[in-house]
Structure formats: C-alpha cells, structure tokens
Amino acid sequence: MSTLTRARRTLAAAALLAAALPAVDAHAQPLDRSRRPTPPPAAPFRLPAVEMRRLSNGIPVAVIQNHQLPVVSVRAVIDAGPLLEPAEKAGLAQLVNTMLSEGTTTRSADQLAEAFADLGNQVTPQGFTTITRNLDRSLELMGDLLMHPAFPEAALTRTKANTVAQLRRLREQPSFLADHLFNSVLFGAAHPYARVASEQTVGGITRGDLVAYHSDWFRPQNVKLVVVGDVTPDAAVRSVERVFGAWAAGGKTARYDVPAPRPAAATTIYLLDRPNSPQSTVLVGQAGPSRDTPDYYALETMNTVFGGLSGSRLNGNLREKHAFTYGAFAGLQWRRVPQVSTIRGQSDVVAAKTDSAIAEWIGELRGIRGEQPVTPAELDFAKTNRTAGLPLRFETVTQVAQEVANLLASAVPVDFWNGYAQNIGRLTGPELSAVATKYLDPQQSVIVVVGDRRVIEPGLRALNLPVQVVDENGSPVAG
C-alpha cells in the first residue's frame, strides 16, 4: 500500500507541474466563455455481452461479466405476478412474496436474519447485490427462500394484519389514489389491471392458498435468472446450478388471459375529492400498443420530445413556463408481451391552477400530434439523449442486472440493445408525429384528478369536458 501511495503522489505532483504551463497562457488573454467546447460525436459504445445458458432443469440464465468492482448482482424473474391470482384473492401474489422471507423448511425467519447479518447483505426472493465472495452463500439462501418456504401460520396471520394496515395507509397517498382510479376508469373496475387488494380479499386468504399458489407457479418453467458482475459465465452457471438445478418440475406454466381493454371513450375528467389538498394529482393517458409493436422506437423517442425528461415539452410548459408544478412527466408503461401498454403523464399541480394545467396539457397533446411539429433540434435532442446515453444506462453491475431482468420480464429478446442505436438513429420527425397522432388522442383520453373538489371543481367544469365525480374505485358519486 505505502509504495502505491507514494508512487501515486509523485505522479500527481508531476502532473500538476505539467498542467501549470497552459494555465499561464490562458491568463495572458481574457477567457472567452462564449466559446463553449464543441461536443464530440458519441463514442462507440460496446454493449455488455449477454451469455445465455440453461440449467439442467431448463431454467435460462443470463450472465454478463463485469469486473470493475468485486461486486455481483443476481435477479430472479418469475412469472408469478398478481395477474395469476383469482380476483377474489387479490393480494395473494404479494402475500406469497412477503411470506417467502418468513422462514423455510430448514431455517426459521430469525435464522435467515442471522445468515444475512453474517454475510452483510440482504437476500430477497427477487435477488441481491453483494461482494463477490458472498455470491454462493447468497444464492443458497435465495434458493431456499424461493423453493422451500414454510409459510408458518402465525407469520401469515401477522402479515395479513400488517397488509390491511398498509392498505389503509396507501389510501392516504394521492399518488396511489390517482393510480388506482386511473386503471379503474381506463380498463374497468373488474379488469385485472385495476385490481388491488382489499381488506376483504386479504382477509379471505388462507395458508392453503399460499401453498397452492407457490406449488403452481414457483416452478422452473416460470423462472429466469440473471447474474451480472465479477464472475465468469462458467463459474456463475456452476454456482447457480448447484442451487437452482434442484428445483423440482411440476406446477403450471404461466399464461396471461388478460381481457382486452374496453374501447376508448370520449375524454372525461374523473374527479376524486380529497379535501384539504393544496395540490391536485393529475394523470392524463390512454391504453397503448404491446411492447413488441414496430412503433416501439418511434413511440419512446416521441415521448422523449413530449414528456420523458425535464427538458421535454410537458415539463417545459407546466413547470418552466407556467410554474404550475414542481414537475410534469409522461411515459410508457410496458407490460409483458402481448399485453397492452399504458401511455400516461403525471403531475401534481397547485390546486388553483388545476384547470389551467389540464388545458395546457391538452394543448401539448395537440401540438405533438401535428399542430407543433417536432423540430429538427427536438428530434436530434431525443435521439442523441437515447443513444449517447447508453453508457449511463449500463454503468454499474446493479444497473446491468436490472436492465437484463426487465427484458426477460417483458419477454423481449436479450439482444434487444444491440440494434437499439440504429433503430433510434433512423427515425424521422414525421414518424414521431405519426405515432403521436396514432396513440395520443386528446379526444379519447382519461383524465384523473385527485384534489380538493371545493376548490377545483368550478374550474374543471368550465373546461367544456365531461366531469364525473367518482369514489376511490371509479364509481360515480351522486351530486
């Protein structure tokens, strides 16, 4: 160590002397700050190489080497989400997930806590990030959580009671209320995307439900694994095989029979009264295409112009120009192929300007559809942000693991990023306008407002759009 330190100091001192010379020259004449550095073109970026392997029982494993730190990150992508639970057992998938950490057939929950403390890292059923030397032991614990849960009755009773409390606290949050209301009115209250756990559905869930759900879905055919970091593919697969190669076959293969969204209706404002709210939480959106649409790149890039970034139009209008809000953003919520997506924006706006903000928002939707065509500068901004920004997206081991897990969860090929820059690079302005016209329709949007009805309703009524006052689940409220 001391040698390294001394060598570094010496080199640093030499560098200081070398740098002093041009600095003197710079002082000879006043610096012209208006002559900004010319940004060089984006440097070629080598995407992380994904190595796809398979365990003896068929579980696919994506491995990406990255040795920048002695760190590894593991993800399990499991098709066992809430879409698979019966409507009358809403909350079951989440309860199963929580209960996976409440003890296994060979380790009590306290023993698991001891094991995590020995390592110095938590392990969840979804994965972990830790130092390289903890990889095998963490994998073993993760496998135990996923494959051998005990689902103790006492822990279930406690977890259910805590879940009920949490459901009440969530309804204190305007963002939760707005999100649930949006899905309820866009898809219909009975649609799986609008389903949320209630005190009744959680109350009716039994240990038998958990055991059956786990037995059905937590099976090799529904599992994909991701290992990223300071490990070779061979070593990674050996380690993963030791744990997950033993996962027994059986159960069912996850399939999603999600009803199609109902036909788009004329734009309506759905107002949920939340008295004493100084801001209104506003969502504007509609259903979109599936993740495998050929319009994917144009849609995402159009959204970068429209609302994806703080430098996009929506934030420029609602925050920068009008100061109605601290921020306004729009984005695409993709679901696993072949399900539909949602295209929507969100902003918390000062109560007195709720109607003005919605009017501006609708104006921006009209604009991106063609009234204000995407300029060459905007097109260039959006494209370079997406392509030149790739190194930032894959900077760390944890980020790479999450990116690859997201691809697997959406059923998108893992070589997706290889063609990304080219697919973005060839987009034109008219193509962006075309997808905006196709998918963003201010005449057929859902507008959700959670705010103080007393303050905001008169302004909303003056917008010349239908206003429907609703309850938390989207059902109309009289008066």
């Binding site: 390592l119 110095g120 606290r169 801001q279 970034l309 000062v350 030149a388 190194p391």
Partner: protein
C-alpha cells in the same frame, strides 16, 4: 507525463481501486473474514483561487461524473428568509451568461447525460453524469454559472422559480399526510434561533419575501471558488482534466472569506409533547426524537450502532417487541441523523390499526431502559458491521456516488477518503459504547410527536399529559418554521 508513465499510473490506480484493502471491516457475524473495502484513486489539489479539486480516475466504464459542492446550506440563511439556499439552488439552473434560460437541462440531456442539484442544512451540490468524452461541456457549464450567474438572473425568473419551489413544498410537505411532522419536530428540538430549527424547504411566507438583491448577495457571499469543491470521477485523464479546470475555473476570482454561523449541538431540558392532526390521514403514527451530536463528534458511530441494535432487522430489540412479539406496529425505524454541527436520534413507529400510541410509547421506554441498564451482547452490536462494510463496497459502483463520497469527505471531514476511516470507527464500536450513548443522549429531554387523524385526540399517546397542538391552521400553510429536505 510521458505515455509510459501515464499507463503505469493508470495501472497503479486500477490496482489500488480493486485490491487495496485500506479499511478492513471486522466480521459482524460469527465467522466471516475481514472485507476489503476499495480505496478510490485520488488526485487532490487546490487551484490558486482557492477551489478544491478531487480527481478520481477509473476507466472501467466510459462515463464521468462531476459534482460541485458549495459549503452553504439552509443554516447560512438569515431570519425571515428560510428556504433561500434551496431557492437559490433553483436559480442556478436558470442559465448564466453563455447558457440560455432553459438551456441547461436540454444541453446535458442532449449529450445523453443526467444532472441535478440538492440543498441541505450544510451544503449545496450540483452534479452531472455524462459520457466521458463530454466531460468538458459539463465543466464549462459549471464554470459558467460560477463565473457569470448574475448576468442572467432577473425578477421574472426568480418569480417563476419561487412558484416552482412552493410547488415542491406542497408536493413534499403540505400535500402529504403528516407532512409537517419533521418541521414540527425540528422546531421543538432546536431553539428558534438555531438554524437547524427551520426547514430547508422554507416557509411559504419567507419564499414570498425573497428578493433579487437576496440572490445577488447570496451569490457574491457564498458562490466563490474558495467555498467550492469540484469532484470528478470516472473515465478521465488527469492531466487533461486539470487543464480543463485551469482553463474554465482558473480565472474566476477568489471571493470574500466565508463567515460561518456558530451552530452548536443542543440539548433539551425537559420533554416536549406535540400533537399533529391531519384530515387526510387514516391511521395514527408516533415519533420520538432526542437531540444528539454533529458530524465532528465520535459519538455518532455509537449512536448509529444504537439505532441498529433497536431496529436493524427482526431480531433487533425494538422491532422484535413492537412488530413480532407484541404486534403493536407494522413497522418501526430508528436512525441517528447527523448534520455538520448537530443531530438528533429518532424512533418512528407506524402502528397497527387499534394499537394504542400510549402502549407503544411505553414499550419504547422499557426497551430503552433495558439498553441503558442491562448488558448488551457483542453479537447484537456487531451484526450491523458486515452490512456497513458490504454496502460501502456496493455503494461505490456509480461514478456520481464516488464523486459525492469524495466531496463529502473533503468538505465535512477534511479527508476525501474518510469513508474508510468512518467505517473503521464504526467497526470499533463496543456494546459499552452503545450503552453509554443511550444513557447520555436518550434521556428525558426529548420531543414526543403524536400524529392522529383530525379530531381523534383520544388516540394521542398519554392524552392526559399536557401537549402542544402543532396542527397547521390552514391546509397549505406550515404552522411553524421547521425543517425538511430539498
């Protein structure tokens, strides 16, 4: 430097980053060997105008991160101008002589970069992560606002940012159930003249009062190179980066010496009991806070360990009793908040429906009494230590995290690499240390805040004891100056 020398230099840096185990964590569990914590490569120097530069070279990803720290925060604010340091931070994104109004964010984002800024009680930072070949644009932009901000600030944009910040306050505080809890607590923990008694976000009235002259004064007083530290981490060349800093920051003149406010750590003579009602809440909450110490006190390490002994995981004392054994709470957190000059220790409880806050407060007191009077085990004090070591390593993954770590160490500890010595000091905490700080700091002088749905005063903890109701009079206005986050 010759090419050969530079390559050798890089090789040394890479070696030191990956393998040098300068701060070795002792095992927190039963049998783990010590964990090697990387030592970030570092070149540290001061420009002639007083600006500190920290350069950390690592070529493992083609990314560079820049952060500029100004050693000024809400504690430097004048009475009647709470929230000003943060409002000023917003003005720094409004453009400067060569950056048009609104251009800042689009410029960085068009390079594929990300950026932001943040303000707390003690410092304000501005940061960018960019593809490494775009480093100079980030440096140029940071220098342009340090050198020329006042050529562009104007009343219209100040008024706009003022409204944006008010909306930030509504979002984070006023529209959140019990959102003013921390403000109310800080106002009670610290004397009203103490700068940690008011919120970083400020009060609506004070934000309304901020003037263009305030902006100019604040900039001239605090935004000088001698009050700034620039920290750059990632895929950089040391010589070229130094030349960029010399070129763009070198000509900025040194500013006046900074007069720093006297901000002592505080104590409370007696308990203060507060009640906060909120019509938007459906369940009560309770938090108890004690004044503790600032960053300069070594006791902060034992206080951190105490918080872990209480609530780190399901075996920790307070979590075990409240969540698992008695099942009075869905969750409980204890933490020790250390600012530069003072701090506080807090226990926060989210109760089960129908659980009594009185009973919860009694459980907290009995658990704390046991910590103070009965021996703690070595194991319960040590279990957090492995977590600290591992998370120090995994926390060094991103370039911006490294740059921030180095800047923080420089500004608050005078040592950019203080994360290593901090970890060593945390590893050295003993059960006796934990007991000692529990006795010393978690005494009778504290703030007990009961938070209940509006009108449910029967749910207040120990409702027969005298209390102060700190519920804001109007829904959007804060009742008391206290503090929040940026």
């Amino acid at each position: 430097m010759t090419r050969t020398a530079r390559l050798a230099h890089r090789a040394l840096l890479a070696a030191s980053l990956l393998y040098a185990g300068a701060a070795q964590a002792q095992p927190g569990g039963r049998s783990s060997p010590a964990i090697d914590v990387p030592t970030l490569p570092l070149v540290r120097y001061t420009l002639p105008n007083g600006m500190t530069a920290l350069l950390s070279e690592d070529h493992s990803a083609p990314v560079a991160a820049v952060t500029v720290w100004y050693h000024v925060g809400s504690k430097n604010e004048k009475p009647g101008r709470t929230g000003f340091a943060h409002l000023f931070e917003h003005m720094m994104f409004e453009g400067s002589q060569n950056v048009q109004t609104g251009e800042h964010r689009r410029l960085i984002q068009s390079l594929g970069g990300t950026f932001n800024g943040s303000t707390n009680e003690d410092r304000t930072n501005y940061y960018e992560t960019v593809p490494s070949n775009q480093l100079e644009t980030a440096i140029w932009m940071e220098a342009d606002r340090m050198a020329t901000l006042l050529t562009r600030v104007n009343q219209e944009r100040l008024d706009a940012e003022r409204e944006i910040v008010k909306n930030e306050r509504r979002l984070r505080v006023d529209n959140q159930p019990f959102g003013v809890a921390d403000e109310a607590t800080s106002a009670a923990l610290f004397p009203s003249t103490h700068p940690y008694s008011w919120p970083v976000i400020g009060s609506m009235a004070d934000l309304s009062a901020a003037s263009l002259d305030d902006v100019k004064d604040f900039f001239r007083t605090y935004y000088s190179p001698n009050n700034a530290t620039i920290s750059i981490s990632g895929d950089i060349d040391i010589d070229r980066t130094k030349a960029m800093l010399d070129r763009w920051f070198g000509p900025i003149p040194r500013g006046p010496a900074i007069e720093r406010p006297r901000v002592p750590a505080t104590t409370l003579a007696a308990e203060k009991r507060l009640v906060l009602e909120d019509s938007r809440a459906r369940l009560p909450q309770i938090q108890i806070s004690w004044p503790t110490v600032g960053n300069d006190s070594p006791d902060r390490f034992a206080l951190d360990a105490l918080s872990s002994v209480l609530t780190l995981d399901r075996t920790s004392r307070l979590r075990k009793v409240l969540v698992y054994d008695r099942q009075l709470a869905t969750n409980v957190f204890a933490f020790n908040n250390t600012s530069e000059n003072a701090g506080y220790f807090q226990v926060f409880v989210a109760p089960r429906p129908n659980a009594s806050l009185t009973e919860i407060e009694n459980v907290i007191d009995s658990v704390l009494a046991a910590v103070k009077t009965e021996p703690l085990s070595q194991a319960e004090v040590q279990r957090v230590k492995n977590y600290a070591a591992v998370s120090t390593v995994t926390g060094l993954q991103s370039r911006i995290a490294r740059a921030e770590q180095l800047a923080s160490g420089m500004v608050f500890d005078g040592d950019p690499l203080s994360y290593r010595s901090d970890l060593q000091r945390a590893q050295g905490v003993t059960p006796a240390d934990v007991q000692r700080v529990a006795r010393r700091y978690l005494g009778a002088g504290r703030v007990v805040l009961s938070m209940v749905p509006a009108g449910k005063l029967d749910q207040v903890s120990k409702p027969t004891l005298p209390f102060t109701n700190v519920t804001p009079a109007a829904p959007a206005a804060p009742a008391t100056p206290a503090r929040g986050t940026n």
